[in-house]
Symmetry: C3
Subunit: 390 residues, 3 copies
C-alpha cells in the first residue's frame, strides 16, 4: 500500500527556468582576491547575514561572538561582534571594540556576564551598550559618557534566527523576507533548540558550496547512502529565481536521512495540506539557500542550518547546526546523533568535491562548462550573485 | 700503473668563455615576486619542462600527475597535469580539469585506471582524453560530446624522458634537442629504470641551484667526501654557452661516487672511444644543466636527474631520481642505496649553501659579486637566463 | 617611622603636557602594510636601534647576530648583522653577506671565531672585516682584495649598550643621547652583566607596546600583584616630550618588584641626593622609553631592558634582558629569578591586552578614543612618532 505524498500549495513547483546554454562562473569569480574584496564590500557588508539562533542566548546576560571573516590559523579576523540579551530580554549586537583604546572586550566564543568590562582599563558597559564606568575620565574636560556607548550593529530576527547587517541603512529584515511569509511556519523554527554544532574549514570558494547544495545531479556518485533513501531525480523546485532558491525531494517510504535510515526524533511540526488536514510530512525533505550565507534544510524531525563565512577566495568556514523540537529532547527515542552523523558524512563528501573543483578552476585550462538540465538552481544562484556584483 | 682516461670527441672541451668581470645576478632576479611572475610566463610557460620518465607509466592505463608550481603547505598549485599511457601505448598529457564544473579529476600522485571519471558528476573520459560519458547532457540542446574532450598539453619524449610545454605552439622538442643529437646515446637513457625518488623543499631561488650545480669551486669546503674521490680542479666543460651547459670531471682510479667509494651497479652503457673501441668509462662523471628545469648527472653505473620546480622567489621543489640499467637490478652486487645515500648527503650540502645565499642576497648590502675563473658555467647560465628575460 | 623618598634633581617632574582632547592613533598606523613599510624606511632605517650590550661579546672573537626584522616562522629576515669584537677590543658591525656570491656567513645567534669564513667558497675575512683570503681570485684580472671588505654598519655604544644605525650618515649616537648626559650614570650600566634573556612573539603592532609601557592607568586591572607593591597613582614623569619619555613610581616601603616582594640582589648603584649624599634608592623604580625600540626599566637592584623589533603591522618580537651588578652574582642572596619571574608574568599580562587592542583596532568600528589624564606619556609618544612619519 503506497503512501501518496501530498505537497502543500506554497511549495508548488515553479516554472522551469533552465536555459540550455547556461554555464558555470568565470574563473575570476572563484580565485581573484579583487573579486573577494568586492564581495566583502558589495555583498557581505550590505546583506543580512545569518549569525545564530536566539536559543544560543536564552537568558539575560548570555552572549556569543560572531567573527567576520572567521578567525583562522592563516589570517586574522577583521570584525568581532558581541550578541547579547539584556535584562528586558531584548537582543543586541555590538562591535567588540572598547571606545577607549579599541581593545577587544570579550574573547570567549560565548558566555554570561552582567556587564561588559574592558580588560585593559576597566571601562564598563551595560548589556545594552551604554558606558556606565570609565575611571579618571571625569578629569577630562568635555568628556561625556553618553558619547561613548558601544557601537551597535544592525540586528533582527527571522523565525528565531539572528541576522546581522553591517550596513546601518539596510532594508529591514522583515521586508527582505516578506516573499517567504508563512512559508516555513510549519517548522516552528523560533522555538527549536540546538543539539549540535560542527564547524568545517573548507578549502574552496564559498560559492561552490552554494552551487553544490543546489543540485542533486552529483548525488549518485558522491552520496551513495543518501541516494538510496532519497531519489536524486525526485527533486522539484518551488523557488527558482532570486535570493531564495530551492525545493524538495522525496524520502522513500519508511526511510529517514539518518545513519539507521529511520526517523531519529519527534517531528518538528506538521505540514498543512490543501484540504486543511495535517499532511504526512515524513515523505519530503526541503532544501533552500538564503542569499548570501544560509542553507536551510527542513526534515520531518529536524532542521539543519549551515552558515557560510568566506575567509579568502579559496577558503570558507562553514558552521552547521542541528535543531530539534524542545519536546524531542526528553523523549526516549531521541537519537540526534543518528541524523548528525549522517549529515557530517554527507557534508564532508560535498566539501571534498568542492575542494577538487576549486583546484581545477584555478587552472589556465578551466573555462566555464555547460550546466545540465539538473542544474537549473545553481545557474539561477549564479545569476542572482552576478546581479549583486554588477 | 696509472689508467689513462680517454675522452670521446663529442665531449671535447670548448673554448673557454670566462670573461674577467662577470658578476652574479642582481638582487631583484632572486627575490622579486614580479620577476618570479615574469619567469613563470616567459620561461616556465614557454619552454620544454622535464616532467618524468616513460618508465613511470610502463603499462597502458598507468598515469601520474605533474603539479606546476608544485603544491606546498604555504601555497596552492595552479596547474595539475595527468600524464597517461593509452591502450595503443601512446603517452598523453591532459589538464586535470573536468570540462563540466572544472573539478580536478585525479588526486593520487600516480595510479592505474581504464578511464578517467570525474568524482563529482561522473563525466567520463577515455585515456586519450575523449569524453565518452556525461549523464543527462543529451537533454541539453546543442551539446556535443566531441566538443568536450580533455584539454591536452603539449608533450614529447627525449631519450625516454617526458617533457611538457604549456605553450601549444612551442618549437618541437626534437628540434630543441637537435644540438645534442647522439651525445648521450651511450647511456641508454630510454631503457633505464628508476630505483629511487627523493623530493627536497629548498628555501632558495631555483637559479641558485643551477649556479651551484654548475661549478665545483665550492666542492672542497662543502663536499669533503666528494672532493676526495673526484678532484674539483679536474672539471672540463664541453658545453659552455647556451641552454645546455656542462662537462665532466675525473673520478680517481678505482673510486666511485658512492658512500663505499666503489661502483654500486652494472654500468649503464659503454663510451665509444675515437678509435671505435669501448672506452673505460669508469673514470669520468658528466654533469649537464638542461634549461630551465633539468640537471643531468651521468655516472658510469647510474644516471641521476634533478627536476627543479620553482614555488616562489625563495622556494623550490627539487625532485631527484636515480636510474639504473634494467639488467642491474637482478645482479647480486646491486647496491643503489650506496649511490643514493651519497648524493642525498651531497644534495643537502648544496641546498644548505643555496639557502644561505638566498638569505644574504635579500640584504640591502648585497651587490653582484665577482665570479672566479672556476665559475664560467654559472656565468654562462646567467647570460642565457637573462636573454630569456629580455 | 616613614621613610621619605628623596628624588634627585635630574629626575624632577616636568611640566604636565596633558591636553584634554588627545586621542589614540588612527587605525591605519596600526594595521596598514603601507605604513609599516614607511616606518621601516623612515624610522627603522634612519634611527639608532638598540641591538645588545657589550657584555654579550666580552672577549676578542666573540660575535652575535642581529636580525632585522627578526626571523619568524611566517616571514623571512631581510637583514642580518654580525657584531664582533676584534683583537684590539674594538666592536664592529657588518652585514652578514659574503662579497662573492652573497652568502650568509654566520648562522648561529652567537659564537666565537678567529676569522669570518664563508661556508660556500671559503672566502675569509678578518674580525675587522678585511678580506684576507679568496681562492683562485688572483687569476681574475683586476681583482683586488681591498675592494671586497665586508660592508660595515654604523655602530656606537651608549652606557654599555650597542646601538646600530642602517643610515651611514646618521647623527652621531653621542649627539643623539646628549640630552640624557649623566642622567643614568648612577646605574653603572656599562659594567652590568646579563642574567637572563626571554624573547616574546607578540601579535600586536610595536607601537601598542610603547603606549602600554608608558602608563600605569591599566595596572590595577592588568597587574594586580604589581599594583600592590607600587601604587599606580604614584607615577611622576620627568621626561614628557620628545624621543625620551618617562619617569618614576614609588615602591612601597620594604617592598620590591619581585615574586617574593623583596629585593633579590645587591644594588646596581647609589642615587646621589641633592645634598651629595647617597639617596635611599630602594624607594623608586624608573621607566623610560627610548625611541624607537628600547624600554629601560631601572630598579634598585637590577636593570631590565626590552628591545622591540617589528615583524609586520601586527607582530613584534620583544627581547627582554635582565642585568645585575657584576658583584651581585657571587653574593649568597642573589636570586635573579625572583625578579625575572615577576616581570615575565607582568610582560605577558601586558602583551595580552596589547593583542586584544590590536584585534579591536582592526575593526571598521574603531575610531581614535580619548586618552585620560593618566595617559599623557602615550599621547606624547604618539606625537613624537607622528612627527617622524610626516
Amino acid at each position: 500500500m503506497n503512501k501518496v505524498v501530498s505537497v502543500p500549495a506554497v511549495f508548488r513547483k515553479t516554472a522551469d527556468t533552465f536555459a540550455a546554454g547556461a554555464k558555470t562562473l568565470a574563473q575570476r569569480y572563484l580565485v581573484s582576491t579583487e573579486v573577494f574584496r568586492q564581495e566583502q564590500e558589495q555583498i557581505f557588508s550590505t546583506q543580512w547575514l545569518l549569525a545564530g539562533h536566539q536559543s544560543q542566548i536564552a537568558d539575560a546576560g548570555d552572549y556569543f561572538l560572531v567573527s567576520i571573516p572567521p578567525s583562522s590559523d592563516c589570517g586574522r579576523t577583521k570584525e568581532s561582534l558581541i550578541i547579547t540579551r539584556d535584562k528586558s530580554g531584548a537582543i543586541h549586537g555590538f562591535y567588540n571594540v572598547c571606545r577607549h583604546r579599541g581593545t577587544r572586550l570579550k574573547e570567549d566564543a560565548c558566555g554570561h556576564a552582567s556587564v561588559i568590562q574592558c580588560p585593559y582599563h576597566a571601562w564598563t558597559y551595560g548589556l545594552d551598550g551604554r558606558l556606565i564606568g570609565a575611571p579618571h575620565m571625569d578629569e577630562v574636560r568635555g568628556f561625556e559618557k553618553a558619547d561613548y556607548s558601544l557601537r551597535a550593529v544592525n540586528l533582527a530576527l527571522w523565525e528565531g534566527f539572528i541576522f546581522i547587517n553591517l550596513d546601518e541603512d539596510a532594508m529591514p529584515l522583515a521586508e527582505w523576507f516578506a516573499p517567504l511569509n508563512g512559508k516555513f511556519s510549519h517548522w516552528n523554527m523560533s522555538i527549536l533548540r540546538p543539539a549540535k554544532r560542527i564547524e568545517y574549514d573548507v578549502r574552496a570558494n564559498w560559492k561552490l558550496m552554494f552551487e553544490n547544495y543546489s543540485e542533486c545531479y552529483h548525488c549518485p556518485g558522491v552520496h551513495p547512502m543518501l541516494a538510496k533513501v532519497s531519489p536524486y531525480d525526485s527533486a522539484e523546485n518551488d523557488l527558482s529565481e532570486g535570493p531564495f532558491l530551492g525545493g524538495f525531494m522525496k524520502i522513500n517510504k519508511g526511510a529517514g536521512l539518518t545513519m539507521s535510515g529511520k526517523a531519529c526524533a519527534l517531528p518538528v511540526g506538521g505540514i498543512k495540506r490543501e484540504d486543511g488536514e495535517e499532511a504526512e510530512d515524513d515523505g519530503l525533505v526541503f532544501y533552500y539557500s538564503i542569499f548570501p550565507n544560509m542553507l536551510l534544510s527542513l526534515h520531518p524531525e529536524y532542521v539543519m542550518v549551515h552558515q557560510l563565512w568566506p575567509k579568502s577566495p579559496e577558503r570558507t568556514l562553514i558552521v552547521c547546526d542541528w535543531f530539534f523540537h524542545p519536546a524531542a529532547f526528553a523523549h526516549k527515542d531521541f537519537k540526534p546523533e543518528d541524523a548528525i552523523e549522517f549529515w557530517d558524512m554527507t557534508n564532508k563528501q560535498d566539501w571534498h568535491v568542492c575542494e577538487l573543483s576549486q583546484h581545477g578552476i584555478a587552472s589556465r585550462a578551466y573555462e566555464p562548462g555547460p550546466y545540465s538540465s539538473r542544474e537549473s538552481i545553481p545557474a539561477a544562484w549564479d545569476r542572482y550573485y552576478l546581479s549583486m556584483m554588477d
